[in-house]
Amino acid sequence: MKGLGRILTRYVLSAAGVALTLIFINAVLFFAYLKSSLDMEPAFHRRLSELAASVQWTGTHWEAVGGSTLEGNYCWAMLLSNDGDILWDEALPEALRRHYTIPDTASFTRWYLNDYPVQVWRHEAGLFVIAQPRGSQWKQQLLMNTQSLSLLLDYTLPALLILNIAAALLIALAFGIRLSRSVRPLAQGISDLAERRPISLEERGVLGGLSASLNRASEQLQWQERMLQKRDRTRTEWIAGVSHDIRTPLTLVLGEAAQLEADRTLDSAVHAKAQTIRIQGERIRALVSDLNLASKLEYDLQPLRFQPFRPAELLRETAAEVLNGGIAKTFSLEMDIPSDCEGLLLQGDAPLIGRAIRNLTGNSIRHNPQGCTITIGMRRTDRLCKLTVADTGRGFPAAVLERLHRPPEEAIPGHGLGLTIVRQIASAHGGTAHFTNLETGTQVILSFPLPAGKTGCP
């Protein structure tokens, strides 16, 4: 589940990224707004000071130089003397025509004058007061302890920021865990699918649709697998059936031919013919049996009986069988089993491995009619048990060798199923078969893996 961990990390990181980006954007917007409003402030103040300055003493009375001070949304204005008397006014409502005491002035400067939001400016004659319509402005004083302010800026704000980021991360983590929980069965399903195991995922939740698709893919794969197996089995069964059907008539052919061959009352020409029939019959027998075994091994339908056995004993038994079966005088069979191999135990289907050895000796005999020396040997390394069959004959033809060196799934079983079977038997045991030509003759090495740490004597 390495993939899921990565997804989760990414998820949390991207959430943190989103949080930081948002904070950054907010900060930028906030400072931009603050800056623009700060930029506005001096203009505002200048405007107010200009308005105040425009009210001037003409020698007889106070007058606004520009004619009116009420620009924009100002609705009235007045100039108060230092004593609180109205020196000048413009559009001043009747209710406000009175004398203003210091407390009055302090109050409206800070708050409102008869609910009019007013602004004041120092004037050479006293105080310039200008008002905006009722309810149009909001006035608020900001008063703060400098200690609290520094606390706020130095600790509270950063703490809040960190808290926010942490909250964002936690929420992202929670969501990520939830997501990965729901993804985990999917991931498991996909890896099961890759290993050809059937899967059945719950088709619920956000990823229900995906699960359903995976389930269907699995069903499809299983079906294909079954079809392939069925086809292989059918083919193998068909071959087994045909070979069974051939065997009964072949029994009669072989039996009768051999009896004719043994009949001393017949002349030698008949004997020779009977011998030909018998020899060819035996070849058909070998072919049928090879075909049957090869097809079973090819499709893994040969039941292997794994049991511990001593390869040294098997090699001797097989060699004795070959010799007892009778081989021409031009052949000799030698054993090469060092004493350190004697006690070695191997797990495997001994009769099948014996068959491989018999196929190899049979091959050496069949392809070297002039005769040769066949050596059946055995070697061991830490990890491998090697069974070898070598001869001093003509060697493998180049084409055969080329075919045997191809990867197993490519090799087309042409003629000479015997060697194909040897390779199949080796690989059915997790081993390999290596075919080479020596300076004179051939060498085939069957290597079987030894179980780790269990190579001792019985």
């Binding site: 087994a240 070979s243 069974h244 065997r247 009964t248 072949l250 029994t251 009669l252 052919v253 072989l254 039996g255 009768e256 051999a258 009896q259 043994a262 018998r278 019959g281 035996e282 027998r285 049996s289 049957n292 075994l293 079973k296 039941p303 009986r305 001593r310 004993e313 001797r316 038994e317 060699a319 004795a320 010799l323 007892n324 069979l333 030698e334 054993m335 090469d336 089993i337 004697e342 006690g343 009769p351 004597c457 019985p458």
Partner: protein, 234 residues
């Protein structure tokens, strides 16, 4: 009773193959051969003429050979050889300890059939069929007394020597592996007795051979095993 006087029951549904088997056995010298083509017939024959050996086809029209063998064996334990035309049967035969004495795969050569039947008979009726004596030229081995009589005198054989010699005699003319000889002498846990076996064989040679350094009967197949030569061997 002599080996060729044994009664062999052949159970095979294919008439031509059945007839061929009977002919092969008869030609080989067996005098009492009965045949059956089905399980029912086989049970009848088994009752009428109790056989000493049964040759049994795995596939029969009214049942399979495996269960027929069980039925027959319940009446009387008799050595049985299976005849099989299917690899699946061979797998079953070699995989399961069905108690069959051997199996022969079709198609077979007459010589193979005769050899297998002979071997099973010899093994099953060892003491009587092999006779109480083994002749090696002028030397005679008496199994019952465990002695070797030769023009040079009479010598006793030890139990191990007897067991080893008997194993070789069972397959006279054929190579018997070192492993098989050790198994005959020391049972299933025979591993490690190879050197001891050689000592026994050397002693055996000194008792049965005229010139132990140039053996005439007990021949060595280097690295493989030993062979007890046939009477007519050069």
């Amino acid at each position: 009773m002599e080996q060729y006087a044994r009664n062999i029951l052949t159970i095979e549904d294919e008439p031509q193959v059945r007839e061929l088997i009977c002919r092969i056995l008869r030609d080989a010298g067996y005098q009492h051969i009965t045949a059956a083509g089905s399980c029912a017939e086989a049970r009848q024959r088994f009752q009428d003429q109790p056989p000493d050996c049964v040759l049994l086809d795995v596939m029969l029209p009214d049942g399979d050979g495996f269960s027929l063998m069980e039925t027959l064996r319940r009446q009387r334990d008799v050595p049985t050889l299976f005849l099989s035309a299917r690899d699946a049967d061979q797998d079953r035969l070699r995989g399961l300890g069905l108690g069959a004495d051997d199996y022969i795969v079709k198609p077979f050569l007459p010589a193979e059939l005769v050899l297998r039947v002979g071997a099973v008979l010899k093994r099953s009726y060892r003491f009587s069929s092999q006779g109480s004596r083994l002749r090696l030229g002028e030397t005679v081995i008496d199994w019952d007394c465990g002695t070797v009589r030769s023009p040079r005198g009479t010598q006793n054989l030890t139990a191990k020597e007897l067991a080893i010699l008997r194993r070789l005699a069972e397959q006279r003319g054929r190579i018997v592996t070192i492993d098989a000889l050790c198994r005959a002498g020391w049972g299933e846990n025979f591993f490690g007795y190879e050197n001891t076996l050689m000592v026994h064989l050397r002693r055996l040679r000194s008792k049965i051979e005229e010139d132990p350094s140039h053996p005439r009967w007990l021949l060595t197949q280097r690295g493989l095993g030993y062979k007890l030569a046939q009477e007519d061997a050069p």
